[in-house]
C-alpha cells in the first residue's frame, strides 16, 4: 500500500513537471504562432481583435496569440520585468518616449531602422523610440498623436455664454461662473492616479515656447531648469490653486477616469484637464455626446499665446528574445500595422484624436470637433512635444506627489521640490551624465 502511494506520488510529480514546460508556439509545417502583449483597456482589446483578425487573414500561416497586461504603473512594472528577464512576448505594444527609454532599448529591443516603413515615420516619433545607438529606431507607431490640455463641454460654455480662455485668470473666472451655475467647474479623478499629472505635463509646451533649451538643461541637471523654479513651478501652482479655491468636483478623490468622462459628457462637469486620447473611451460610453467636447490648451499666466502639448502615439516593439521564424512573423505584423490596411484599421477601430506619426497614414475627412480644435493649434504652429519625448528622465512618483498637492497635503513648492528629488533619483538610476 505504501509502495503504491510512493509510486503514485512520483508519477504525479513527474506529470506536474512536464505540464510546467511551457506550451510555447513553435513552428511546425510552416505555421508560426507569435504572442502579442497589449494592455487591458476595453478599447485596446477591441482594436487589437480587429487588427489581429485582418492580419491573420492576410497571412494565413501566422497565428497571433493576444496576451493582456495591466495598465498604468503596474503595467510599466510588468513590461520592465519581462524585458529585464528576457521573458517578454514576441511583440508588444507600449508607450514611446521616456517609458521605453528607461528599459535600456539598445540591450533589449530589435533595431527596426532597416524596415521599409521606417522612412515614412516622422522625425519626432523616431526621437521618441530611439536609444543611445545612433540612427536606431526601436518601435513602429501605433495610433495617432494626441494632445494634453483642457477638454471642455461646449454646450455648457454656450449656455453660460463663456469664451475659450487664453490666460489663467480668464480660466479661473470662467470656472467660478460655472460653479455659480451649479456645475462642477474642473474635474479631478484621482480614482485613476495618473490623471493628476495633467496641469504639469500639459503646460510643458508653454514652457518650451518661452525657453527652447529647457528640456536640454533639465536633462543636463542645470540649476535653472528645475520644477521648484519658474516656469516649471507653474503647473504645480495651478494644481494646488484649483483645489484651494474649491473649483473641483466633490468626488475628486475617488472618481475614476471613465466615470469622470461620463460626467463631462452629461454636462454635470464642465472642464477636464486631460489627454485627448480618452475621447475614444467617451465615444464608447456616451456616443451621442462625443461632438459636444472641445479642446483648448492650458492657458498662460503671462499673456503669451497658449501652446498645445503633443504626445506621440504608442509603439509596437520586438524584444531581442524573439528570433528566427517568429522574428520574421513579428516584423510582418509591424509592417502590416503601417500599411494602408493597417492605417485604415487604426483610423476606424480607434477614434482619431490627432494627426498620425507616419506619412503612410492619412487623416479621414470626418474627424471630431475635438480634433478640429487641435488642428487649429497645429495650423498656427503653437505646438510642442511633451517633455517625455524630449528628455529620457521622468520621475516615477509625479502622480502621487501631485495628488498630495491636489488634496492639500503639500504645497506647490513642497511638491515641486520633492519631484526634483525624484527626478534626480531617476537620472542617477539611468546613469545619465551630470547627475
Amino acid at each position: 500500500m505504501r509502495r503504491g502511494l510512493i509510486v503514485g506520488a512520483a508519477v504525479a510529480v513527474a506529470a506536474l513537471a512536464l505540464a510546467g514546460c511551457s506550451a510555447g508556439g513553435g513552428t511546425s509545417n510552416g505555421k508560426v504562432t507569435i504572442s502579442y502583449l497589449v494592455d487591458n483597456a476595453p478599447l485596446t482589446t477591441a482594436t487589437t481583435k480587429t487588427f489581429v483578425a485582418a492580419f491573420e487573414k492576410a497571412y494565413p500561416n501566422i497565428t497571433v496569440k493576444v496576451e493582456s497586461r495591466a495598465q498604468g504603473a503596474d503595467g510599466d512594472n510588468i513590461v520592465k520585468t519581462k524585458l529585464a528577464t528576457g521573458s517578454m512576448d514576441d511583440v508588444f505594444q507600449y508607450n514611446s518616449g521616456s517609458q521605453i527609454q528607461g528599459d535600456h532599448p539598445d540591450q533589449t529591443l530589435v533595431d527596426l531602422s532597416g524596415e521599409a516603413w521606417a522612412k515614412d515615420v516622422t522625425k519626432d516619433f523616431k526621437a521618441s523610440v530611439a536609444g543611445t545607438k545612433k540612427g536606431a529606431v526601436y518601435g513602429a507607431p501605433w495610433g495617432t498623436t494626441f494632445a494634453g490640455g483642457i477638454m471642455y463641454n461646449t454646450k455648457v460654455y454656450d449656455k453660460l455664454g463663456l469664451k475659450v480662455p487664453t490666460t489663467w485668470d480668464e480660466f479661473i473666472s470662467n470656472s467660478q461662473k460655472i460653479k455659480a451655475a451649479g456645475i462642477a467647474p474642473i474635474l479631478q479623478t484621482f480614482g485613476d492616479t495618473w490623471t493628476s499629472q495633467l496641469f504639469v505635463l500639459a503646460d510643458f509646451a508653454n514652457i518650451n515656447a518661452k525657453d527652447a533649451n529647457w528640456a536640454a538643461d533639465y536633462t543636463a541637471n542645470k540649476s535653472d531648469a528645475k520644477y521648484a523654479k519658474q516656469p516649471g513651478l507653474l503647473g504645480f501652482q495651478y494644481t494646488s490653486e484649483v483645489f484651494q479655491k474649491g473649483l473641483v468636483n466633490d468626488d475628486y478623490a475617488s472618481l475614476t477616469n471613465a466615470n469622470g468622462l461620463k460626467d463631462l459628457a452629461a454636462g454635470t462637469a464642465a472642464q477636464y484637464p486631460m489627454i485627448t486620447i480618452v475621447i475614444s473611451t467617451l465615444k464608447q460610453s456616451n456616443p451621442d455626446q462625443v461632438n459636444d467636447i472641445g479642446y483648448f490648451a492650458i492657458p498662460t499666466s503671462d499673456g503669451s499665446a497658449p501652446h498645445m502639448t503633443i504626445w506621440e502615439p504608442n509603439a509596437l516593439y520586438i524584444p531581442k528574445s524573439t528570433t528566427g521564424a517568429k522574428l520574421d512573423a513579428a516584423k510582418k505584423l509591424l509592417a502590416f500595422a503601417n500599411s494602408s490596411k493597417g492605417c485604415e484599421i487604426q483610423a476606424s477601430a480607434q477614434l482619431v484624436t490627432g494627426p498620425f506619426s507616419t506619412t503612410a497614414c492619412k487623416l479621414p475627412s470626418d474627424v471630431l470637433p475635438l480634433v478640429k480644435d487641435e488642428q487649429k493649434y497645429q495650423d498656427a504652429g503653437n505646438t510642442g512635444s511633451a517633455l517625455e519625448f524630449l528628455s529620457p528622465i521622468k520621475g516615477p512618483n509625479l502622480e502621487k506627489i501631485l495628488i498630495q498637492v491636489a488634496t492639500g497635503q503639500a504645497t506647490a513648492a513642497q511638491g515641486a521640490a520633492l519631484y526634483d528629488q525624484d527626478v534626480k533619483a531617476q537620472a542617477q538610476q539611468l546613469g545619465i551624465k551630470g547627475w
Binding site: A253, S254, P396, K400, T407, Q409, Q426, Q429
Partner: protein, 307 residues
Amino acid sequence: MTTINIPVQSVSAPPRPDGRARKARSIYPSWFYIPAIALYVVFFAVPTFASFYFSLTRWSLFDATFIGFDNFVTFFQNPQLFNGFIHTFEYGFVTSGAKVVLGLALALLLTSPVIGRGYLRAVVFFPVLVSTIGVGFVFKSLLDPFHGVVNAVLGVLHLPQPGWFTDPNMALWTIAGVDVWKGVGIATLIFMAGIVAIPQEYIEAARMDGASSWRLFRSVILPLSRPAMGTVIILSLIGGLRSFDIIWATTNGGPGFASDVIASVIYKQYQAGFFGLSTAGNVILFLVVTAIMVPVSRFINRREVEL
C-alpha cells in the same frame, strides 16, 4: 528460591571523560540533512546576503555601482519614504493590539455556552480564509465615499459620511480596521485553544472560593493563557509590520503617500526601477522586524507560566 539480582548492563556507551552526556546516536546518517541545507542555502541564505550587498549599490539588474550607504540615507531623508517607515510602526502595533484584545474577548465568548456557538465560530473565522486581495477590492467598493453601501446607510441614518479610503488622515486607520476584521479569526482560534486547555479544576476551585467572573478572568484565565497570548502577539506583530496585500488592494499607499508602509514603499521603488533602493528598504524592514521581535519574544517566553 533466591532471586538473583543480575545487575543490568548499561547498553549505552560509558560516560565521556569531560562529564558531558553523550548525544544519542541517530540511526540516520547526517547526509540526510544535505537536501534541506542545500535548498535553505540557495533560496534563503544566499538571497539574504546578496540583498545586503545590493542594498549598498545602485542596481539596474544589468549592472550594480557601489554607492555605500546612500540608499539608506535617501530612505531616511526622503519624506515620502520616511513617512512609510513611521506608518509601519503605527499600523503594526495598532492592528496587533486590536487583534489581541478583540481575539481574547471573542474567545471568551465563544468558549462559553452561548446560543449558536458553532455558527458564530464559523462567522468569526471565515474572513481568515478569504483572499486578501478579494477582501481589499470588496471593501474598497463598500467604503466608496459616494457610491458605497456603508456611506449610503450612514446617510439614511443622518450620520457623517467620511471618506474612508480617500481622506488622507483616515486611510491608514480604515485599512487597519479591515485588516483586524480579516485577521481576528486566527487570534480567536489560538486564544480558544489556550482557554480550553486550562484544567477545569482551577476554574471550579476559583468558583468555589466565590470568585466573580471578572476575578476569574483576571486571576485564572488571563495568566494561564499567556502562551496563547505570546503566540498571538508575535504572529500578529510580525504580520502587521510586514503587511502589504491589503494596503495595495485598497489604496495603493494613497491618497498620495498617506497610507504607505515600508512594504508598499519597497514595492513602489521596485516598480520605479530603483532596485538598489528597494533592496535597501527590504534590509531595513528585516532589521526593524528582528529588532522588535527578538526582545518581544524573549520577554514573552520568559514570563510564560509553566502549567
